[in-house]
């Protein structure tokens, strides 16, 4: 036993573990292929170890030849693996070359037992080497050619690759270079070129890199993987090497000084080193990573700080803009955006973006596979991960996810949750550096995203509260105006009344004057004064009309309710409405049975309700006609009834007018809200008053549904008579 055989032993174990691990972790052509190479390398690499435990040369030769049964297939399977990595397995040239290589492998496999291949094994202290037969050189050349053929192709693909794939290939290239070097050292040793350090250290490094690279490649950057592996190897070389060196070189000296139990010294040393080893390893690793990840740490700190400040921002728009800005800038992304759940929980809408994206959509449905995935997994979604999974087996879900991520130009999607509710998600483009997203990155982003969710919720709540407060204030104002209006309008009316008296009397006085003795100038003056007074009088009358209108709206139910038929209400309404609108321009359809039950209501008030509704519908239909200019369009109002709610008659009044825009919908019943342009009048009080009449005066309900460019339907429920 020496360091050569110990490293060999470690390499064998690692190779075999790795080869099983990758297939257990994921069964794909890629992992199976790698597993084969790794397993065969593992057997081949047992050479120093196996020889160190065999007793005779003959026994060593037998074992070595057995190992070479596996070794003979290493170039072939390496070759296969390379072409799977390069995704060029279907190339006919490659297929031919592959077959050719397989033939060689079989040839060497068959020749293993022959002295033409391996003559024997010698201990070429402190390591073992093969005594090569003529075929051994051929095998070494075959080995070299396989590597030499595949590697330039891989390098070419590497140089043309981008970001993530580039990193992936980097791992593979470096790892296999190490394995190739290990093999080369092994071959060279057979031709008496000394093996200055155990070549299996390279094999160990190879396995460690792959362990990171293949199975967890997205978690670590190559430099980190390499650094960690190197630190590991150095630390454990020291831990294991020093005691053995002690035993090997100073064994005699120790036995003289300590006596029979001299071997205790290296053992104790080993125990001490083995205990300190992990600490040393961790310490060195942290130091190294602090240096390597300085940049990453910098932006992670920035993001952490930013996430703390976020909850203080109360303006939602400002907030999400800030989030994408901070993320894109500190991580140096080519693009970042954020999608926020809409108020109605149906859509995620693009809220803000930093830098121009290639995103095709600005809305993602909350039932889409992307949202489902995020809700289910509550984790960051990485585009490369999807691509890799699809590489193994494509499912419809993965295909959907892929196309959705493409449509929003996402490299990574980070969800923002409040409890189980996906409030928003952040879309990150590629890093400008082309580096991959590390696990550290993703966890920082996740923290940020969750902080963002809180901040968004906070801002939303604040905005809603503000809006509600405004509404309450508005409602209060309205109520105050309502009660004030009554008194105010009387006051104003009294002023008009007085004015009317003054002007009326003055006009009368002038009228009665005998102007026959007046000069023409005086007559002219009188005429002018009279004209002015007439104008004053006219304005007073007009003002009086305004006040009258105002009083109408503040009036409380001034008469009792009685049984009344819908027909009667509509007749009365149409009689009134015909003076305002051209009934010949539209159709009004009464689509309800003649024997329909009466409602309990006030004719004048209900007349006003239907007057307003028909008048509004008319305007909406005229607007549709003017704006959409549809061929053969004709306005149509349909009035029909239902008996849904017992004791109530449900009356629908449906028009095919322009409809209500979504943003206006909530404000429909708000006083003074009007969409009618000022030239076409509209106080914005119509629906407000209607609602008051129906709800407060009649104990009924009124609701509305509308689709812009299609029409509006009002549904009124009035208590039925008996």
């Amino acid at each position: 036993m020496n360091t050569y055989s110990i490293f060999s032993f470690i390499a064998v174990i690692l190779c075999i573990i790795l080869s099983f691990w990758v297939v257990i972790k994921r069964r794909s052509p890629f992992s199976i292929s790698f597993s084969r190479v790794c397993f065969l390398i593992g057997i081949w690499t047992a050479f120093p170890f196996v020889n160190s435990i065999t007793k005779t040369d003959a026994e060593a030769l037998v074992f070595t030849r057995l190992l070479y049964l596996a070794a003979s297939f290493v170039p072939y399977f390496f070759f296969r693996f390379m072409f799977i990595v390069m995704e060029i397995t279907s190339d006919p040239n490659i297929k031919r070359f592959s077959l050719f290589s397989l033939a060689f492998a079989i040839f060497f496999f068959v020749s293993c037992n022959s002295p033409l291949f391996i003559k024997g094994v010698v201990k070429y202290a402190p390591y073992f080497t093969v005594v090569p037969g003529p075929l051994y050189l051929l095998f070494a050349i075959y080995f070299g050619l396989s590597y030499g053929y595949a590697t330039p192709k891989l390098l070419k693909i590497y140089s043309g690759s981008k970001s993530h794939r580039r990193n992936q290939l980097k791992y593979i290239i470096i790892a296999f270079f190490l394995a190739f070097m290990a093999g080369t050292m092994h071959f060279l040793a057979a031709y008496r070129i000394p093996e200055i350090f155990p070549h299996d250290i390279l094999v160990i490094t190879f396995t460690l890199i792959f362990a990171y690279a293949i199975v967890r490649y997205r978690l670590l950057d190559i430099t980190i993987a390499l650094t960690r592996a190197s630190i590991f190897v150095i630390v454990y070389t020291l831990v294991l090497g020093i005691p053995f060196a002690l035993a090997g070189f100073l064994g005699e000296w120790l036995s003289i000084h300590i006596g029979q139990n001299w071997w205790m010294a290296p053992l104790v040393l080993m125990a001490i080193l083995a205990t300190t080893g992990p600490f040393l390893y961790i310490y060195l690793q942290r130091k190294a990573e602090d240096r390597l990840l300085k940049e990453q740490k910098r932006y992670q700190d920035t993001l952490k700080k930013a996430s703390l400040g976020m909850t203080r921002i109360r303006d939602l728009n400002k907030l999400i803009k800030l989030i994408v800005h901070v993320v894109a800038k500190s991580v140096r992304l080519n693009f970042a955006s954020i999608y926020i759940l809409d108020n109605d929980d149906v859509l995620y809408r693009l809220g803000a973006e930093k830098n121009k994206s290639n995103a095709l959509v600005s809305e993602i449905s909350s039932t889409s596979s992307l949202i489902n995935w995020l809700t289910k997994n509550k984790d960051a979604l990485v585009f490369e991960e999807i691509k890799r999974q699809m590489h193994d087996h494509t499912t419809e879900e993965l295909e959907d996810l892929r196309s959705q991520m493409l449509s929003i130009d996402a490299s990574v999607v980070i969800p923002s949750f409040i409890g189980d509710r996906l409030l928003a998600f952040m879309v990150l483009g590629e890093k400008r550096s082309g580096e991959i997203y590390s696990q550290d990155d993703l966890s920082v982003f996740t923290v940020l995203a969750n902080q963002a969710a809180l901040a968004i919720e906070n801002a939303r709540f604040f905005e809603e509260a503000k809006e509600m407060q405004e509404q309450i204030a508005q409602a209060e104002k309205m109520a105050t105006i309502g009660t004030m209006a009554d008194g105010l309008s009387h006051q104003i009316n009294n002023r008009f009344h007085a004015l009317s008296m003054i002007t009326g009397d003055t006009m009368d006085t002038i009228h009665l004057v005998d102007m026959s003795t007046y000069t023409p100038e005086q007559k002219e003056l009188i005429t002018q004064i009279r004209h002015s007074l007439e104008r004053i009088q006219a304005n007073v009358v007009q003002g009086g009309e305004v006040v009258k209108g105002m009083l109408k709206y503040t009036r409380k139910g001034d008469a009792g309710l009685m049984a009344i038929t819908l027909d009667k209400v509509l007749d009365a309404t149409l009689e009134m409405v015909q003076y305002k609108i051209k009934l010949s321009m539209i159709d009004i359809v009464r689509d309800y049975p003649k024997d329909i039950a009466s409602v309990v209501g006030n004719l004048t008030q209900l007349q006003e309700v239907f007057f307003n509704l028909i008048d509004n519908a008319y305007d909406a239909m005229m607007e549709r006609k003017d704006t959409l200019k549809e061929e053969g369009y004709r306005g149509r109002i349909r009035i029909y009834t239902e008996n849904v709610n017992s004791g109530f008659l449900t009356i629908h009044l449906e028009d095919n007018g322009i409809g209500v825009k979504l943003e206006d919908f909530k404000k429909l019943f708000t006083p003074f809200f009007t969409t009618k342009v000022s030239s076409r009048r509209g106080t914005g009080l119509g629906l407000y008053v209607i609602k008051k009449i129906i709800a407060s005066n009649h104990g009924g309900t009124i609701n509305v549904s509308s689709t812009y460019k299609q029409g509006t339907r009002f549904t009124i429920e009035l208590p039925m008579h008996n």
């Binding site: 008009f496 008296m501 009326g504 009665l512 009358v541 009086g544 009083l551 001034d558």
Partner: protein, 120 residues
């Protein structure tokens, strides 16, 4: 004996100009600024016609109408009101008001009504 017209309104301007208007027509006008005053004048001066504002401080037009009618059923009372109030209209009609005019009134309209009354 000239016709006596009583104008009841708590607005000085209204009283002044309405009075002026009718005086030009050889009608004797007296004015009252409140319901109480109006009732006193009805007792002391027995006007033939009363123009009565419905809404006033103190006793309102309806109450004043009631008292006037209690004193003298012959007096013709024209109610002047600020709004189109069916209820008040009905009530004053029941109490025996002769007519009902909305504010702001035009004097021509009032003149017509008064002249019509005088012709009777």
């Amino acid at each position: 004996m000239p016709v006596r017209l009583l104008i009841v309104d708590d607005e000085d301007d209204v009283r002044e100009f309405a009075a002026s208007f009718f005086r030009k027509r050889k009608i004797e006008v007296v004015t009252a600024s409140s319901g109480e005053e109006a009732v006193k004048i009805v007792v002391s001066q027995e006007p033939k016609i009363v123009l009565l504002d419905i809404k006033m401080d103190g006793i309102d037009g309806i109450e004043t109408l009631k008292r006037i009618k209690e004193l003298n059923k012959q007096i013709k009372v024209i109610m002047i009101t600020g709004r189109d109030d069916e209820e008040a209209k009905q009530k004053t009609k029941d109490l025996g008001a002769y007519g009902y005019i909305n504010k702001p009134l035009e004097l021509d309209e009032l003149e017509k009504m008064v002249m019509k009354l005088l012709e009777k």
